[in-house]
Subunit: 343 residues, 2 copies
């Protein structure tokens, strides 16, 4: 096991490297007030820490840099959360300053402010819209052969899609169908909508609506689910600020991966609760092997959850980000639950 002194040196080394982005030398360290040993002692300890795999050298005579194992140990055992400066808290809370009534708007703002406060990239996932339940369904005809289908959920989320109508349709039939559907489908979660549409309403429509078949089949296509969960980004370009990233090609790959919706589940583990840290190669995506990702989930009421991720270099300011995310996930949970209860 590591001695007290080794722990101290590991911690200070990681802290220093996180702050300076430069390999840390024994002389440098010995000058710090919290380090009472000489540089020679530190050299010995550092050599041991390197032997154990916590530190690395970039070349034979360079200072030390934390290895992934070093970061992992630091994160698991050496992270002493320090309270945020008041100013940062004020800025974080400013998310809720203006009374915003829309969940999405709050999340969008959170993404922005989070990226400003960290100088990293933030990715926020809203609550799964498919868990919302149907509040109102309407069809607004635009012309003789097109109409727009609109779905309003209890969460105030609105989905809409234009679709083509079978030609020569009676306006009354549309209205009848909409009425029946609203009656039968109110309160059904969006994820079940398709199924229920077929099961329950088809026979009734058959009885009341002319040419229900054509109308129904085109309409059914229009009620496509919101394909993916909505993702909100903040500070996408902050990656360009990090001195750790200089290889343009790698940067491009990284940014590509982050924006690509299909990768999102691999970055933000949607199911998991609480705070998680993935360091370097612990990430699934190879394009992110030089990154660390901190994720946290938040709750809206009992049922719904969302998640937050911060993507930065391995040399990320873990302490600060963890504290920020802790506070924000709490705030978001409270505020969004409150907003939902109101509804």
């Amino acid at each position: 096991m590591l001695t007290e002194r080794q722990l101290l040196i590991l911690k200070v080394t990681v802290d220093d490297f996180i702050q300076s982005a430069q390999p840390v030398g024994s002389n440098q360290l010995s000058k710090k007030p919290e380090i009472p040993f000489s540089s020679a002692t530190i050299r010995n300890e550092m050599a041991d820490l390197e032997g154990l795999g916590f530190l690395e050298k970039t070349h034979t005579s360079s200072g030390r840099v934390p290895s992934e194992k070093g970061y992992r140990y630091y994160v698991d055992h050496l992270l002493t959360p320090r309270p945020l400066p008041q100013q940062d808290i004020v800025q974080l809370r400013s998310i809720f300053d203006d009374k915003i009534a829309e969940t999405e708007e709050v999340i969008k703002r959170s993404a922005m402010i989070l990226s400003e406060l960290t100088n990293y990239t933030s990715i926020l996932l809203g609550p799964d819209v498919r868990k919302h339940v149907l509040k109102r369904l309407s069809i607004v005809p635009l012309s003789s052969d097109t109409a727009v289908a609109i779905i309003v959920t209890d969460g105030g989320h609105v989905e809409n899609r234009v679709f083509t109508l079978p030609s020569g349709l009676d306006a009354g039939d549309i209205e009848k169908m909409v009425n029946i559907l609203n009656e039968r489908l109110l309160g059904v979660p969006l994820s079940n909508l398709h199924q229920r549409l077929e099961q329950e309403t088809l026979t009734i429509l058959k009885q009341h609506v002319n040419r229900y078949g054509e109308l129904f089949s085109t309409f059914r296509k229009a009620v496509v689910m919101p394909q993916e969960d909505k993702v909100f980004y903040g500070g996408k370009l902050n990656i360009l600020n990090q001195p750790d990233f200089h290889d343009l090609h790698k940067i491009r790959e990284l940014m590509d991966v982050i924006e690509e919706a299909k990768h999102i589940p691999m970055i933000l583990p949607v199911g998991s609760q609480g705070l998680h840290i993935r360091i370097g190669s612990e990430n699934v995506l190879t394009a992110m092997e030089d990154c660390s990702v901190i994720t946290v989930s938040y709750d809206i009421g009992e049922e719904q959850t969302g998640s937050i991720a911060i993507v930065g270099p391995k040399r990320m300011d873990y302490k600060r980000v963890v504290t920020l995310l802790d506070i924000l996930s709490g705030d978001l949970s409270n505020e969004l639950t409150r907003m939902m209860r109101g509804k």
Copy 2:
């Protein structure tokens, strides 16, 4: 005035540089089949062209590079549009392959395919939503004190916003108000909506709806205009592919400027008709002084217009981009007008 030979040399120089991104030397040029003169002759001509300000040297003994004036002349006088390879046309037309009923979807796809075909960044502006006219207005109550206001336009565009209701309101009153508003405001362009809301409906509401004041004022806030026109991007990251851009800091500034909505009017001159090319410092924004921007407008019906911009390095493949934009603006105009007429 420039001699025939100077024109030829200027053209070939620009073409070569666009293709290779390397300064063009006299030897290199003399080897080209379309150039029958010796390198010495070319040197003389190039010296003249440099004197006239069409070419530049990066250092005393380097090959020549087009100056902005050179590009400008090339673009104005030497651009011989060459038909696109069949394959590119196929890909471009694939925008309309699946029958998409929504304008925005078509524009989104155009942005994507355009950036793929050019390897530059594309910016597309849809038709001004404020010219759409009101087709339907609804208010869906979500809870005792919140509701979502929905506006559907003739173009199939849907705007929605959650707002808070005055407490203890009668559901019937809301319905009454919505009916009156729909009756009075059908066909009003969104840009006039606010004004007409106040002018025409206020007195009538007064007569029919209890507590019209509170309800109306909160609702009025909800019917905020779509703030800006919707902007669609394609290939934002393509900037990172251009060898012309290597300074990370400049790249960041450029990407920042492009994404910032408030700069859009300076990139895409919304009013102007037809195709425009801005080279380097001809751009208003200093962050774009190393870029060229090609813009073109397209029409939807008689009234509405949208615009397209391609942002790339000054060493852009003007010929190809101009041809692509010519075709696309035509196609978009036709297709979207057709879609609109259907409505």
